[in-house]
Structures are given as C-alpha cells and as structure tokens.
Point group: C2
Chain length 333, copies 2
C-alpha cells in the first residue's frame, strides 16, 4: 500500500498531540480518522478543540478559523469517526497511532490490546518522547510493526518528527512512516533515528545546552533572563537557518569544519573540560535548581494566553521563512 493513497488512521489518546495529529491527518484528502479516548466529555472536547488545530491556527487562538471544518460535518461525511471502544477504533485501521500516558505498563498493555484487534497489516506508531519501541512492544507477538513517531511541541507548528524504530522493526514500516510525513506540500520534516537512545536526538541536544545553561546561572556568570537573551540574539536565529554542522562548515571558510576545529580546538577543549556536571536528581550537584526556578519565575511568571499566541504566531513565521526562497539578484527581502 502506497503512502500517497488515503489512509485510515486510528488515533488512541487525544490530548494536545493527538488532536494536533488528527488535524494533520485530516488535512490529507481521503484520509479517514478514527478517534478513541477514555475521557468522559470526549465528544464535546474534540468538537471544541479540533477546529482550532485544523488550518494550523495558533493553538490558543479564540478566533474562528475559516479553513476549519466543523466536527459534525466531518463526522457526517465519514472522514472523522468517534469511537467508544478501542476495538471498533482499530478494526479497519491502516495506521494505529498512540498518544497515551508516558507510562511503561500502560504502553505495553495498550499495544498488546491493539495488536489483538487491528488488522495484521496495520502500522503501529507511538508518539512517546521517552519510552523506546523495543520496551513498548514487549507484550506483542509481532515485534516488527511498532516504531516511535515523536513530534516536537507545539506539534501543529513544529516541523520535526523523529522516527525511531526498534532494532526489530521492519525497514518497510520505517520507510512507510517517513514517506507518509514527507509528501510534497507537507510542512513536516521526518528524520529517521538509526538507534534507540534515551531522549532520541532533539531532546539530547536541548538538554546538553540546558545543563550548561543551568550551570552558568548557578555560578552567577549570567542570570536566567540574560542567558535567554543571549540565546535568542545569537544561536536561535543561527540554528533556525543553519544546522550546527553547516554553521561551522561555513565558519571555517574555505577549510570548512576541519579548519574550524583546528582554529578553535583549544578553546573548545577548554570549554568541554570545564562544562558543568550538575544533576537534576539525587543529593549532589542539584544546588542550581532553586536558583534557576526562582530566577525563571521572576523573569516570566505564568505566560498569558496573549503572550503564547504572539509566540506561536512568531514561531509560524520562523518556520515559513525556513523554506522561503531568496533570489540573489532580486530585491532585498
């Protein structure tokens, strides 16, 4: 079955990520989305939230979105089917995608249940941010079907999907997921991670930077708000346009990243040797926590709906600009 043909996707668990995924799947002509969640107000909830995510409006927007179809018309056309049992949701699915709690027991149990009721050909995707497919599949009979499809917050705007197979996941199923998210016109950028590793890649990179950030605040080198300003005034816009490797390939001039590593090697080793080895759990190396939390609370408090809306509008523009073309001889843009 080709990924360009319409799919029938059963979504299990409709929190923020699930709703966002429902909107994504419904944006493809012909797809049928089957939804199941155990919350008591499920039908009301999805009627209220889904239109907000469809058309990629900022998720907190209170404006009516002209592109969004009301849920009753999606239901009456048969494109959206609201289920009250896992079995009926999965019965005819070509893809089953799970966005449930981040809990090992729950994940292992739900996949065994799904395997028992879904067609044998159906693809199994989990949106987990931390529990590897090889752990989740322990109670399944067929270990070739499940893989991680990890979106990044906010999933209705962020292009990244980390696709992380277990060692036993079949390569055809990995390729199917990658192709599904990279159809022409999609804003999404799926990347296949070759090995299971805690945090996958995006969060490993983020937490490496966060660890040094917390250390610098602990050491009174800079306060939390000034550190954020530094990041926004330099690395953020740089990495929105260039990856880290591409940046240093350019930074090294004609010699590329090799020249960069030679020129900056001493500074880099010096920094690496002096990196903060703070901890977030345990009794040692956690003194930074109260200092960081109080500085961050003081700097930002609780973000208002208006602030979040403004940030999402800006984020959408950053993502839009990433794929915009600039003609060297055209007018300045």
């Amino acid at each position: 079955m080709s990924t360009s043909s319409p799919q029938r996707i059963a979504l299990i668990g409709l929190g923020t990520i699930g709703i966002s995924m429902a909107a994504l799947h419904l944006s493809r002509d012909g797809n049928i989305v089957e939804v199941f969640d155990t919350r008591p107000d499920f039908e009301d909830y999805i009627s209220k939230m889904l239109p907000i995510y469809m058309g990629q409006a900022p998720s907190t927007s209170s404006k009516p979105n002209p592109d969004a179809q009301p849920v009753p018309s999606l239901v009456s056309s048969g494109r959206l089917r609201i289920h009250s049992s896992l079995e009926s949701a999965c019965a005819s699915a070509t893809i089953v995608q799970e966005q449930g709690p981040e809990n090992v027991d729950w994940k292992q149990s739900i996949w065994a249940q799904i395997e028992a009721v879904a067609p044998p050909s159906a693809h199994f995707w989990t949106s987990t941010s931390g529990i590897a497919a090889s752990i989740q599949q322990l109670q399944m009979r067929d270990k070739t079907r499940l893989l991680v499809v990890h979106p990044f917050n906010p999933p209705n705007i962020m292009p990244l999907l980390e696709i992380v197979p277990a060692p036993g996941t079949s390569s055809e199923r990995v390729e199917f997921a990658r192709e599904y998210f990279s159809v022409p016109g999609s804003r999404h950028r799926p990347v296949v991670i070759r090995k299971e590793i805690p945090g996958f890649v995006g969060n490993r990179l983020a937490f490496a930077l966060l660890r040094e950030a917390c250390y610098l605040v602990q050491e009174d080198v800079v306060d939390a708000k000034d550190l954020d300003t530094i990041l926004m005034a330099s690395l953020g816009p740089r990495w929105a346009g260039n990856g880290v490797f591409e940046s240093y390939q350019q930074g090294g001039g004609e010699g590329g990243i090799r020249a960069f590593l030679e020129k900056l090697g001493e500074t880099m080793q010096n920094i690496w040797d002096g990196q903060g080895r703070i901890n977030v759990l345990g009794d040692e190396g956690t003194e930074w926590k109260e200092k960081v939390i109080s500085q961050v609370d003081e700097a930002y408090g609780t973000l208002s709906t208006e602030q979040i809306q403004e940030k999402e509008a800006r984020l959408k523009e950053f993502v839009r600009i990433q794929t915009k073309k600039y003609t060297p001889d055209g007018p300045e843009v």
Copy 2:
C-alpha cells in the same frame, strides 16, 4: 560623557568584524570613526568593503547599496579618518576598539601601546572571542579601563554583544558600553556577563550542544546532515523566539519550569549521565573527528556565495521577526 552624545571611535584592526563595527558606529549621527590597520592595501580595502556593510546589506552582496555612503564622501566630511599610525588614530578617541589577531602577546602589547597614546578618559574595548580582559591588560598601568565587547558572526546581522569586564574593570565603563549599544532603534542586544569564563556564554552553550552532536554522529545514531535537519526543524526556531528557560517555563504549564523539571527529571538525568565525553584535542576520545568532518564535507562542500547570500537574507528576516509585534485580534501574520 553620555553615550548618547557623539563618540570618536578608534578602530584598531579592520577585518570582517572591524569593518562591521565601523559601519555600526558610522550609522550613529555625529560619530567620528578613526581607523588603523597594518595591511598594505588598507585604503583600497576599506573603500571596497565598508559600503557593503553600511546599511546592513548581506556581507557578500555584490549589489550597490543605496544607503551606503561612498568612502571618499565620508572622508571629506570628516566622519571617517584613515590613519597610518596607531598614535594618530588613538590621539583624540573617546573609545578605542581592537579587532586584532587572537594572540595573547599581541593583545597585551597593543593595549600597552594604546594606553600610552590615547586620552586617559578613553574607553578600551576588545572584540576577542577568547582572551579575557584580565589577561589582555597585564602590561597596562590602569586596570580599570578594558573590557570585552564580543560580537557574534555575522556581526552585521547578529544582535548579540557579550560585554565581559575583568574583575577590576570599573562599573561605570561597563555601563557606558552597555548603554552605547542599547540606544533606542539599535538592533543590538548587549548583555553583561558577570564573570570571566572561557568562551563567555554564547560559545559555551553552542559547544555544549556541538559536543553531544558530534557524539551522536560518532555513535551512528544519526548522520551529520540529519542532525542539522533536526536542529532546524525544532530547537532553532524555538530558541529564535524563546530562550531555553522561557521555553521550559511554558512547557511546564501552570507549574512552570519547576513542574517541567519534576516531570522530565528522570529522562533528563538519564540523558545527562549518558552524554558523550568526547575530546577535540589529545589522543583519547577524538575518533569522531574524521567521521564528522567527512560527513559534513559530503553534505555541504564549500558553500557558494549565492548560498551564503541566501542564508544571510534569511537570518536578517529571523532577526527582524524577533522584534515584530503581533496583535492577538489582528489578521493572521
């Protein structure tokens, strides 16, 4: 002397950063810029390069820039003065700013020479990325005058200036530099770093992420190009709009960063414990280098002028959007 009054800035060393700084200082009405460099073709070079940087055109642009004043007219109006000796360049300066080689002996020697010829009230700024003011000033008599003003590449677009005083630098001189770069209408965002530390803050954060990136490539978790895609499709745009602390304050919902650290603590500690401890110098832990270099070379080769122009045009837009206002009830932007 107030920072809003015109200054007379002697720039010593006119490479990329020096030229960019000259353009910045000349963009302020009334400033006089005195330039000195030992390169033999200095006058031709500055006549060619300065107009490109004035008006903030992408630095590799070959188009004429309508905002740029030709160097002869800047010279005849007395706003730009080209010197053939350090002494004459510094003689009447209110600020002396150095962008010379990253070499301890050279820096120590030049500041002793500058101190001998500049007015006693002049402010001394070094654009170094790695040699602390407390080291550079060792041969100076007055240890209260020198501080680091570290720009970020490309300095004609990036808003960040890291201001890093030595322990003995007078607080008035720190405040003068901060105010100078934060006048209304300036695109620049100066941040005062409270303690001297190798790499200051921006490069420490960048190299912490780079270390983990190189480790993940070494371990075959992901290749260099896919890692760049991951960064551009998630953390880059996030950190262009939000700092890392603000992101997690928002990510924690009503409980803020405290709730985030509680919820993600186990994953975070797991990632921190497993971070790659690779090295860039020495014999151990450097196996990643050839793998990373060859993957980066293969992915990007040498970037063409057109590619760099396009990247700079995009970077300028990211920076512009950072300060754009979005009205929640206005039209979608």
